[in-house]
Every structure is written in structure tokens, then in C-alpha cells.
């Protein structure tokens, strides 16, 4: 009697779970989020459908940067202290390869087809090009001092790099590996974000505490004061909102990209750094380095709606959720 009662309860629970999973998940599977834990030498894999950590993958020494391919099959991680790149299989959630690279690989970005990965070397003042099929460095280009954030234009023809200690941003021709233009921005640019049209570039200036808006030719469109030490940014709600992590303030600023004004400043976890947008284009994951967790922010309501525990010293610097759309 007792056994049958319990079995029935379990069956109900399983059924409810299945129904919930089906209703939450769109027809295609929700992507995973990959959070680099610098203090643990690991990556936390979060199922974005339910916000649970489903795996923890060991990578190189002191991982920081991350770039997920659009189809989610490969995730590339930079290990600044290990001086290496780790490759994770996005289906099996396993480390499948490592590659030695430079002296201080940090910023990382991937092109739209997932064929080329670009890595900024903090110490060598270079951007390396990695062919993802051969998993080999196929080229490099000298850039400004302490290159940090990198993004690839949506058509994959250009690479934008923030030269932190030169206080500048450069456009690189991806095919020719030539610098097309360099402009001065604010003090110590770190994170970069490009919109889906490839028409606007956003630059987070850590020391001048502002976000600069540039057009695709690096002409300044505007400048928005934000909180203390803006590190990284992500767009949401059809590109109308920009979420900026204020590293030293434990907050994010939500910017209206039309009026170029801060709409809200929201408390998140401690010392936020990386930020990426979920496929619903409404929620973002904010990675908190000191509190070792992810704050889930609803950009529409400007409210934190969830918290996910990750590993020691979470950074998530880069596109850590595959941009499926």
C-alpha cells in the first residue's frame, strides 16, 4: 500500500517535471551558459532553461575569458595564468582540447560561422587568430597596450579590440589582419559589445566610469556616465537596452540605447564582471566575481529574479551564452 502510494507520487512528480520542462523550453533546446571560475580552474555549466548548474568542467590555470560558438557546440576559454586556450564540447560538456597561447591570453571572441577564434594577449599586446578546425594559431597582429575586450562584427569581416592601457579601440580587418583605424576612447576601455546590425559599438571605460557609443567606423555617437568601474556589457530587448556591470559598485546600469540615458541602477551580487543575454532577449546573467554567483536580471522589470551559485571567483568575461539567434 505504502509502496504504491509513493510510486504514484513519484510518477506524478516526474510527470509534473516533464510538463514544466516542456513548457519552459522552446522547440529548440535552451543553450547552456559557461561561467569561468578563476579561483577554481573550472567552468560552471548552467542550463539556462531552469538556471541549474548541470556540470563543472576543469580547464586551464585561472580561466577568465569565454566565447561560445553560435550553435553552442564549442566553447573556448582563455587561461591567463596557464597561458592556454581550453576547448569544451558543448554537447558532452567535456574538455576536449588545450592549446598553448601567448603570455597572458584574456579577451576572446569567435566569428559567426565558428571558424575563427580571436584571443587578445594582455602581455604581448597582440591578437592571435586560431583556426577552430585545425585548432592551431594561424596568425597574429600587434595591437595597442594590454588589449582586453574583443568582439567580431556580425558579418565576421572586422574585429574590434579595446586597448586598455592605450585608452583606444582599433578595428582590424579580419581577412588581411590589418588595423584599419584606431581611435582614443575613455580611460582604460575593457569590455566591448557590438549590436546585431554591426552598426554600433559600445565601450566600457573602467577608469573614466562611462560607456562610449561609437558607430561602425568608430565615430563617437555619445558617452554615458555609469557606476564605478564598468567592465562588461550586454544588449537586450531588441538592442534597446544595454546592461553594464559596475564592478566596484556591486550594481548594473541599464541604459536606454535610444536616449543614451541610464534608466535604472540595480543591486546585484558582489563585484560583477561578465554579462550575457538569454535567448528570450529579456533576461541577462550577471556574473559576480566576489560572491561566486550569477544574478539573473529581468531587464524589462529591472528586477533581480534569481541567483545561481557558481565557483570561486566567477568572471565570465565574454559571450558565455551561445547567441542562437
Amino acid at each position: 500500500m505504502k509502496a504504491s502510494c509513493c510510486f504514484s507520487n513519484i510518477a506524478t512528480a516526474v510527470l509534473v517535471t516533464v510538463v514544466v520542462m516542456v513548457s519552459v523550453r522552446p522547440t529548440w533546446a535552451s543553450p547552456f551558459a559557461y561561467i569561468t571560475n578563476q579561483g577554481d580552474d573550472t567552468v560552471s555549466v548552467i542550463d539556462t532553461a531552469d538556471g541549474r548548474v548541470v556540470d563543472t568542467v576543469g580547464v586551464g590555470s585561472k580561466p577568465a575569458g569565454v566565447a561560445a560558438s553560435r550553435d553552442g557546440t564549442r566553447i573556448y576559454i582563455t587561461n591567463p595564468e596557464g597561458k592556454s586556450l581550453s576547448v569544451i564540447d558543448g554537447q558532452k560538456q567535456k574538455l576536449i582540447a588545450s592549446l598553448s597561447i601567448g603570455e597572458g591570453p584574456l579577451g576572446i571572441a569567435i566569428d559567426s560561422p565558428g571558424k575563427k577564434v580571436y584571443v587578445a594577449d594582455w602581455y604581448e599586446d597582440k591578437v592571435f587568430v586560431i583556426d577552430t578546425d585545425k585548432l592551431k594559431i594561424t596568425g597574429s597582429i600587434a595591437v595597442g597596450e594590454s588589449p582586453s575586450g574583443l568582439v567580431v562584427s556580425p558579418d565576421s569581416t572586422k574585429i574590434y579590440v579595446a586597448n586598455r592601457d592605450s585608452n583606444s579601440v582599433s578595428i582590424i580587418d579580419a581577412k588581411e589582419l590589418k588595423i584599419l583605424k584606431t581611435v582614443k576612447v575613455g580611460t582604460h576601455p575593457f569590455g566591448l559589445t557590438v549590436d546585431k546590425q554591426g552598426s554600433r559599438l559600445y565601450v566600457a571605460n573602467v577608469v573614466s566610469n562611462d560607456v562610449m557609443v561609437l558607430d561602425k567606423n568608430l565615430k563617437v555617437v555619445g558617452k554615458i556616465p555609469v557606476g564605478d568601474s564598468p567592465y562588461a556589457m550586454s544588449l537586450a530587448l531588441g538592442g534597446t537596452r544595454l546592461v553594464v556591470t559596475n564592478h566596484e559598485d556591486d550594481t548594473v546600469s541599464v541604459i536606454d540605447t535610444v536616449s543614451l540615458k541610464v534608466l535604472a541602477t540595480i543591486d546585484v551580487g558582489e563585484t560583477p564582471e561578465g554579462v550575457s543575454t538569454l535567448p528570450d532577449d529579456r533576461h541577462v546573467y550577471v556574473v559576480n566575481w566576489f560572491s561566486n554567483d550569477v544574478s539573473v536580471l529581468d531587464v524589462k522589470t529591472s528586477k533581480v529574479v534569481g541567483n545561481i551559485k557558481t565557483g570561486e571567483g566567477s568572471r565570465g568575461f565574454g559571450q558565455f551564452i551561445p547567441q542562437t539567434k
Binding site: A64, E81, G104, Y123, V207, F290, G313
Partner: protein, 190 residues
């Protein structure tokens, strides 16, 4: 010069360069202490941003702005240990916590490394922020938590031992331990 060197060794404070640039790996630190007194009693001693008399190495403090966000303070350390300028980032009397960051430190000495003269400032850290808080503990007393985040002082690859991560962590640990132990002594009246 000789006097300074001795003091540095004696207090375990490897004073170092304060620069804004840094390597990619930031350090994190947390020290706690349990005190047999109500949190309010502890907060009375350490809760005023403009009073650092509970930190043993501090000789003098000047400041402005009280306990308002953005308030400034300058600590002068004993025995020629140098000066540290700090700014208040967050102050919450209800939660009994405040957060601050270092904005400037004086140079205490210099050293040669890889053919270059490196300035050695008060703490071998850069981009340093910290917060201190007191909460009721389960045993009826209080727990004080002091947390800090910082980079090592040396901005390039291959730092000298005086300016590497271990030196940064050792220096901050020494300050926190000394401060928390003294806070316990002052509060418990022993």
C-alpha cells in the same frame, strides 16, 4: 632607509607600488573574528569611517565627508609607514557595514627589477577595495568579517617576489589579522 627596511620586515608589510594597471588575476581575501559582545558594541568601535584608532598600525587619521558615500580619509601609519588615501563607497548603519577603496598610497622605497626602478608603496596591491561588517553570531556574540579584492602591485608579467600575488595577500592578511584581533581586545575589554 635602514629604519624603514627594518620596520617593513618587522610588521610584515611589504609596501609597494600602487598602479592602476594590473595583470589579469585578481586576488580575494576574507578574514573573520568572533567577539563576545553584541554587534552594536563592536560597531560603536569600528563603525565610524573617520575613526581607525582600532587598527594598530594607524598613527593618525584625517578626513572629510563623515560617513556619507564619497567621504575621504587619509591614514598615516606609525613609524614612517607612509600614507594611504581611501574613499567610502557604501555605508549602511542598519546592516552595520561599509565598503571603501584605496585611491592613493605614498612611496616608501624603491627597488630594481629587470633593469627598472620600481616604486614601492604602502601596500603591494592595486585596485584595492574592501568591506567590513559585523553581524550577530549564533553563540550570542558577534562575527566581524573583513573582505578585500585587489590585484598585485606589479603590472607586467614576471613580478619580483616583493610585488607578486603572495606578497599582496601576505600584506593584506597581516593588516586584517592585526586589526580584527585588536578590535576583539578593545571590545571585550581584555
Amino acid at each position: 632607509m635602514k629604519k624603514i627596511t627594518l620596520l617593513v620586515g618587522a610588521t610584515l608589510l611589504f609596501w609597494a607600488v600602487f598602479v592602476d594597471a594590473h595583470g589579469p588575476v585578481r586576488q580575494k581575501m576574507k578574514e573573520t573574528i568572533d567577539i563576545s559582545a553584541a554587534p552594536e558594541e563592536v560597531w560603536k568601535i569600528m563603525g565610524d569611517y573617520q575613526d581607525m584608532s582600532w587598527l594598530p598600525m594607524v598613527e593618525k587619521i584625517t578626513g572629510e565627508g563623515g560617513n556619507e558615500k564619497g567621504a575621504k580619509r587619509e591614514l598615516t601609519l606609525k613609524d614612517g609607514g607612509g600614507t594611504v588615501k581611501e574613499e567610502l563607497k557604501k555605508y549602511d548603519a542598519e546592516k552595520m557595514m561599509y565598503k571603501y577603496k584605496i585611491t592613493e598610497m605614498s612611496t616608501v622605497k624603491t627597488m630594481k627589477h629587470l633593469g627598472k626602478e620600481e616604486a614601492i608603496k604602502v601596500l603591494p596591491v592595486s585596485t584595492y577595495s574592501a568591506d567590513i561588517s559585523v553581524k550577530a553570531s549564533k553563540s550570542g556574540g558577534s562575527t566581524v568579517t573583513w573582505k578585500a579584492a585587489f590585484y598585485r602591485a606589479y603590472m607586467n608579467n614576471n613580478p619580483p617576489a616583493e610585488l607578486n600575488e603572495e606578497a599582496a595577500v601576505a600584506a593584506v592578511t597581516a593588516v586584517f589579522k592585526a586589526g580584527l584581533e585588536n578590535l576583539k581586545t578593545l571590545t571585550e575589554g581584555k
